[in-house]
């Protein structure tokens, strides 16, 4: 794992640098073992279940299976980047990457755009019954991805759907549309969650900031655009990063959709490819897929953080 300065990007984006807090000299600790007692348990489980697995995946991805003769005993030997060469030749994997990429560039902006709109409406004086709307929009977040997919799978199915008038005309489970049907499920689950993160940030803005704008005659839309949105940029970045990570991890929803639609193959998303490869079993290749996917997630999240921070600095 890298510890380059840019890694602090997520901290900087999500919370202000904590420099002011550390101005004052901290009181001296009598017993330094207390610090060990606080940090060690987490450090231990983090090492065991995060650091070591990542290292192990990298190691495993470098192995190849070798046999002596056709029926000889299989042994694992070091093969360098042989598995990665296979990863790059694997067209199923790359088309699954392309698919989630297409999914992400459409679904993430739509979802965050809606979440922002709802949060701004909740924060404006235009709306009554805020408590009700906030709750109603958040309820889907309590529905696990698998359950949400089962539910929507039924709603999409031509013979089961309550909206037969629609589903008899449009086949939501066809190969053309199923990706967007899945996108709808993911959006349905997560809009409320993102809305709440943005809304909580809006609530933390002191009301008097708007006073001057009010006196200048700015309306709600103008205040939202020129004051609120710039101020809540960190929350938007946070929800953006989390959504990017979520998109690349897509698994439960498409996997569940396999029982509703034959258009969803066993290698529909990168994670499904990893699972399918590991159960062949070809664990070294699956490990190489995992490493590539984790790296891609890392790089994309970083790039996103970088771009959004540069914009923030420029404005």
């Amino acid at each position: 794992m890298t510890t380059s300065p840019s890694i602090a990007g997520i901290a900087g984006a999500a919370a202000a640098p904590d420099a002011p807090v550390q101005k004052r000299k901290r009181p001296r600790v009598q017993n330094p073992w207390a610090i060990v007692a606080f940090v060690a348990p987490f450090a231990l489980v983090f090492t065991l279940f995060y650091v070591i697995p990542i290292g192990y995946a990298v190691w495993q991805s470098m192995l190849v299976v070798e046999r002596e003769g056709t029926f000889g005993e299989a042994r694992e030997v070091f093969g360098g980047f042989a598995q990665y060469a296979l990863v790059f030749q694997n067209t199923a994997f790359w088309s699954s990457v392309g698919r989630v990429f297409l999914f992400g560039i459409v679904q993430v902006p739509v979802m965050l755009g809606l979440a922002l709109l709802f949060a701004l409406l909740l924060d404006s004086p235009l709306l009554r019954g805020k408590k009700f709307f906030r709750l109603a929009f958040f309820v889907p977040y309590a529905v696990p991805g698998v359950i949400a997919a089962i539910m929507w799978g039924f709603l999409y199915s031509p013979n089961l759907s309550p909206f037969e008038a629609v589903t008899s005309q449009v086949d939501f489970l066809s190969s053309d549309l199923v990706l967007w049907s899945i996108a709808n499920v993911v959006t349905w689950v997560f809009v409320g969650y993102n809305m709440l993160i943005i809304y909580s940030t809006l609530l933390a803005i002191p009301g008097d900031i708007y006073e001057a704008a009010r006196l200048d005659g700015a309306g709600q839309a103008r205040i939202a655009w020129s004051i609120k949105i710039p101020l809540i940029r960190p929350a938007l970045v946070l929800t953006g990063v989390l959504s990017i990570i979520g998109t690349l991890q897509l698994l439960a929803e498409p996997q569940t959709f396999r029982s509703f639609s034959s258009a969803v193959t066993s290698t529909y998303t990168p994670n499904m490819t990893i699972y399918a490869t590991s159960s062949i079993p070809n664990v070294s290749l699956a490990a190489a897929f995992s490493v590539v996917l984790a790296l891609a997630t890392f790089v994309l999240s970083f790039t996103f953080l970088r771009i959004t921070r540069r914009k923030a600095a420029a404005s």
Partner: protein, 308 residues
């Protein structure tokens, strides 16, 4: 302006929202016309239908027997068979469904409690003490936030199979007690809400650091702890890849994975359809109740995570 009446109607809600802040919601002043208000209400109304209709449908569907499910209005009650359905679900295969629910509660409930405790101690130490390697540790943990949990599932499976832990309770439980995001949130929150003076006072009274944490600081950090707990709870409850790859024995499944397994065999066993629907409905009830009960705490913590 002619909106004196709306002013009195809107203002109480507007100022009540800010707990103890005493600020008036000036910028959210009540000077908007009827058209923008109607538009806002329409947008929210339409989306309320979008968010709640599927759940309503699930509720209705789980009150029907198999025949009615297809032949009656999908969005309204027919013969009310909810309790018969629940009874049949619970009785099916010696109550395997209840077993799954219990498993989920253990994985997610106990797992999230342990995760919250470990993460909050670490985040608290990062916020309140200076020690060598502090920033390095924090940066590594932040890197962990960016590592997708599903990328860990396969290597964890490979490691656990080396030590013969796959297909056990521990295979799903142990990885769930790590919450890097929890460390991050606890650190931010401890910095904002636990004053150094209080720690100093506690030291003068002769309390040890650990005791101070458990008697004083943990209370001040409560909203953050609830937030960490809930998000870890939900992410364990929803985790799909880990059980998928680790578990073979049905009696170890969490409820979501069990329902997934049933749903995948619906074409061979159509009688499972009712069980999947009723089971899905029952499985989301505990989460909704937990969120409702704890909402006044976790919403405070949520804001802390994303602001500044």
């Amino acid at each position: 302006m002619t909106t004196t009446t709306t002013m009195t109607a809107v203002n109480p809600t507007a100022s009540r929202r800010r707990k103890g802040g005493g600020q008036d919601a000036v910028g959210r002043g009540p000077r908007e016309g009827v058209i923008p208000r109607t538009a806002a209400f329409l947008v929210m109304g339409v989306f309320t239908l979008y968010f709640l209709t599927p759940i309503w449908w699930l509720l209705i569907a789980s009150t029907k027997d198999r025949g009615d499910l297809f032949s009656t209005n999908p969005l309204w009650f027919a013969d009310f068979r909810f309790f018969e359905n629940v009874g049949a679900l619970v009785a099916y295969r010696d109550g395997v469904y209840l077993r799954w629910l219990l498993n989920s509660l253990l994985y997610a409930g106990v797992g999230a409690v342990v995760a919250t405790l470990l993460a909050s101690m670490c985040g608290y130490a990062l916020a309140k003490y200076r020690f060598p390697g502090r920033e390095t540790l924090f940066n590594v943990v932040l890197g962990g936030v960016l590592v997708p949990a599903t990328a860990l599932a396969l290597p964890l499976f490979l490691l656990f199979s080396q030590v013969q832990l796959t297909n056990t309770f521990w295979a799903v439980f142990l990885p769930s007690i790590v919450s890097p995001f929890g460390v991050y949130l606890s650190r931010v929150f401890a910095e904002a809400s636990v004053p150094d003076e209080l720690l100093e006072a506690s030291r003068l009274d002769g309390a040890g650091e650990v005791r101070t944490f458990f008697t004083v600081s943990i209370r001040l950090m409560f909203p953050a702890l609830v937030t960490v707990f809930l998000f870890q709870f939900v992410s364990i409850w929803n985790n799909f890849f880990l059980p998928l790859i680790m578990l073979r024995s049905e009696e170890l499944f969490p409820v979501t994975y069990g329902l997934y397994a049933w749903n995948s065999t619906i074409n061979q066993f159509p009688e499972l359809r009712t069980f999947v629907l009723v089971g899905s409905l029952l499985s989301i009830v505990p989460l909704i109740i937990t969120f409702l009960l704890l909402q006044r705490y976790w919403r405070t913590g949520l804001g802390t995570g994303a602001l500044k």
